[in-house]
């Protein structure tokens, strides 16, 4: 291991813990006993007149640990606003259905005959100021982004030393740095541009325009927007990537596709991460029957190929992006849960967990403060490598026409251009290049993160 990693010992990942801020505040007097038992020895020598472990009034600590840092207050406030908004939206959408069912059930009447009183709104999405209506994917997407900001960006900003260390390790891998820049660009464009530019429109007169650097015989498009010379229609900057057989602008479609791919990859990863950590940590911490039940369930879930389950769901309920994300997010976490469990099983035997338990820490506390931060490295790596699979699956399903028919995903455009390949090669190929590069970039990134974060790989790197 190199220098900075030694300072933090096995708790290297601790700084990314959501509670890092809090432990700095309340832990001033006592935290060394519970927080870093492995390097407790070093701290106790400079303690001088500090209270020893036995002198500490742990009940008092328990009471004061309720106080929160400004960051946590901000987080709670945002989550509060989010929950209220979500509740309002759910109310607007489902109040009528719930009301008629409940009243119908209670009065024994047919639920279609139940009159709704004035206070029950017409079913439909709630209208919010500024943002308008919000659908299921938007709710998940905004939550994912919020969590990303508060649990990744802010902790990195607050711990510049660890950030610099991670960056130094990460920087060694040039391919990964390029991949990260590429993904950042894709992410930002995908996030901003669809808010400003309207979605690609069908304009049959503008079909088959070639990309700006290309040229096709002028018989291919109905009318050529760009300059025509020697019987060749040249592309224009009006449609830099050309247009499809429906006259949709490919650049705009590709940009819309960026957001969809990012949504599928990141939301799916977030859901998987959440469930996998909860299941894996519980299984490892509680052991016994909890472990047995959870892990045997994981066995079954892993056996059932998610792709085929989604096919069944599409067949029964129709395809939608929301359903796809939910199916892949809720049923694809088995592999990560196994990794979390095996990692947490090792951590559970560490002295700092025993110390926390002897000090009377609750299981929730031990899991959150001691197990979760210490398994986070391998979890993050595994999760990053889940993203390319999700993006690929979404593109494949959209290509088959089993995705969301209402949105322009990369897979859709590739499928749209399939029959035109001999005269309009750009329709299928350009979105395919973006798809390929995005998946490649996530794979590079995941690999680099594993090298930078995963302590088990350390030995191999020194060769």
């Amino acid at each position: 291991m190199s220098g900075p990693a030694d300072d933090d010992g096995p708790d290297g990942g601790h700084t990314s813990s959501p509670d890092a801020g809090r432990s700095g505040e309340t832990g001033g007097r006592v935290s060394d006993g519970t927080r870093h038992s492995t390097d407790g020895g070093r701290h106790s020598t400079d303690g001088g007149g500090r209270a020893t472990f036995e002198d500490v009034d742990w009940d008092d600590i328990e009471a004061t640990s309720g106080s929160r840092s400004p960051r946590q207050i901000a987080w709670l406030a945002i989550i509060g606003v989010y929950s209220v908004g979500l509740a309002l939206d759910l109310y607007a959408r489902y109040a009528t259905a719930v009301y008629t069912r409940v009243v119908g059930f209670l009065s024994g009447a047919d639920r279609t005959a139940v009159e709704t009183p004035a206070w029950v709104p017409e079913p439909g999405p709630a209208e919010f100021a500024v943002v308008g209506t919000v659908d299921g994917v938007d709710w998940l997407w905004s939550l994912t982004l919020l969590v990303g900001v508060f649990y990744v960006a802010v902790p990195l900003y607050e711990n510049p030393r660890m950030t610099r260390y991670y960056w130094r390790e990460f920087k060694k891998n040039k391919a990964a740095v390029i991949a990260l820049c590429y993904l950042a660009v894709i992410f930002l464009i995908g996030l901003v541009v669809p808010r400003v530019v309207s979605p690609p429109a069908v304009e049959p007169l503008l079909q088959y325009q070639p990309p700006v650097w290309g040229a096709v015989p002028d018989t291919v498009p109905i009318q050529c927007v760009g300059p025509v010379s020697d019987g060749l229609c040249h592309g224009t900057w009006a449609h830099p990537f050309g247009t499809t057989h429906q006259g949709k602008d490919i650049l705009v479609s590709v940009i819309y596709g960026m957001e969809i791919s990012m949504q599928v990859g990141l939301i799916g990863m977030f859901l998987q991460l959440l469930i996998a950590s909860a299941v894996g940590l519980s299984a490892a911490y509680f052991g016994g029957y909890v472990d047995e039940v959870l892990m045997r369930y994981v066995d079954i879930q892993i056996t059932f190929p998610t792709f085929f389950l989604y096919l069944l769901v599409v067949y029964l309920f129709g395809g939608s992006l929301f359903l796809m994300i939910i199916v892949f997010g809720i049923l694809g976490w088995g592999g990560i849960a196994r990794i979390v469990r095996s990692e947490a099983l090792q951590r559970r035997e560490e002295a700092y967990v025993m110390a926390a338990e002897s000090a009377g820490a609750s299981s929730r506390w031990t899991i959150r403060r001691h197990l979760l931060p210490n398994v986070s490295n391998s979890v993050i790596t595994a999760a990053t490598l889940v993203i390319p699979g999700l993006i690929l699956a979404e593109a494949a399903l959209a290509f088959l026409g089993l995705g969301d028919p209402t949105i322009p995903s990369w897979g859709d455009i590739i499928a749209a251009g399939r029959s035109d390949l001999d005269r309009a090669w750009w329709i299928s190929t350009l979105p395919g290049v973006f798809l390929f590069l995005t998946i490649l970039a996530f794979n590079f990134l995941g690999d680099a993160l594993r090298d930078a974060l995963d302590p088990r790989q350390e030995a191999g790197n020194n060769e």
């Binding site: 066995d299 190929p305 792709f307 494949a396 090669w425 299928s428 390929f436």
Partner: protein
């Protein structure tokens, strides 16, 4: 060990039942599109839609209580009586047995090729870590796992089919048959093999890449092991070290990956490849069943990969305990 195997087999049985049950509940809870269609047709023809629907439901046993329907469903599933395909007008089982050989024609060579090549390249990369060859192999692995295979297949079809004209764009299913029956001679005939080359290549690219990565990572664990150093110090030649001292211990975890991961890649990959190339195998059958709303066939075609996955996982776990004496199978 016997006790473990018995329990593992029993568990596979439980998993099968659970999956069948979940599917049944899903089917039970969703409105039957065919019934709605019937109602609509009846209304158009001036009949009473309710009456027609009821008659149809009665004929198909849909008005039976939940448990009776469930028992019927399970009995049919377990006796391989998987229903009638309405679009193909034949039993689902017949449709499946007709389609599966087409999938195997390119699936089996792809699995064999990717396993052999993946292991070989992975081992070579691990032994020669951080050399030029290793970087080339790693780059190829990244390419293979990142390229969307349906897109890759389209590009290859355009290049080799449309531009160069080396292969036919349309797949001809009759080439593998003589008088409507599959024969080994016809399957191995050159025209048939020629049209299978691209599908095999596309499927192999994806699976060989992940196989290679795993093989390299597993082998690396042993490259620096004490026993390998000892063997080297005693002057054992390179080949024996790689095959006997590195490959043998690495083979055990690799065996599990082979089944678990490769199976998934192959099944999903073949689905798309068959649609792109127009191979009338299991994937295309399933895809057509979904677009044509052929319920029995949809479930049949989805169950096949699922059951193969269950059996594959079972075989893998049993192989694991037999191959690796260190595994403590007592407390699982």
């Amino acid at each position: 060990m016997k006790w473990y195997i018995v329990r593992r087999v029993a568990w596979a049985g439980v998993a099968t039942l659970v999956i069948l049950t979940v599917t049944f509940v899903l089917m039970y809870l969703t409105p039957d599109t065919r019934l709605l269609e019937l109602q609509f047709e009846a209304a158009q023809a001036g009949q009473d839609p309710e009456q027609v629907a009821q008659a149809a439901a009665e004929a198909r046993g849909l008005d039976d209580p939940f448990l009776v329907q469930y028992a019927d469903f399970m009995r049919n599933m377990l006796t391989l009586n998987w229903g009638w395909s309405t679009t193909r007008s034949q039993p689902v089982m017949d449709a499946l047995t007709d389609a599966i050989p087409y999938s195997m024609m390119y699936g089996v060579p792809a699995v064999v090729l990717s396993t052999v090549a993946g292991l070989a390249i992975g081992l070579y990369s691990a032994v020669n870590q951080y050399t030029k060859t290793d970087y080339v192999a790693t780059f190829f692995a990244f390419f293979g796992i990142s390229i969307p295979n349906f897109w890759f297949a389209i590009i290859l079809l355009v290049i080799f089919g449309a531009w160069l004209g080396w292969v036919d764009i349309l797949f001809d299913p009759t080439l593998a048959k003589v008088d409507g029956e599959f024969t080994l001679g016809a399957i191995l005939s050159w025209p048939n093999i020629k049209q299978l080359i691209l599908p095999i290549f596309v499927l192999t690219t994806t699976s060989v890449a992940s196989m290679m990565r795993y093989a390299r990572a597993e082998a690396l664990e042993y490259v620096e092991a004490e026993f390998v150093k000892t063997a080297k110090a005693k002057g054992v030649d390179e080949r024996t070290i790689v095959l006997k001292h590195i490959f043998r211990p690495a083979a055990v975890p690799l065996a599990t990956i082979l089944v678990g991961d490769l199976l998934g890649i192959i099944f999903v990959g073949s689905y798309l490849i068959e649609v792109v190339f127009g191979i009338p195998g299991l994937g295309l059958l399933s895809f057509n069943a979904i677009t044509n709303q052929d319920t029995a066939l949809v479930f049949g075609t989805v169950f096949v990969p699922t059951f193969i996955a269950i059996i594959g996982n079972l075989a893998q776990d049993i192989a694991y305990v037999i191959l690796d004496p260190r595994i403590d199978y007592g407390d699982r």
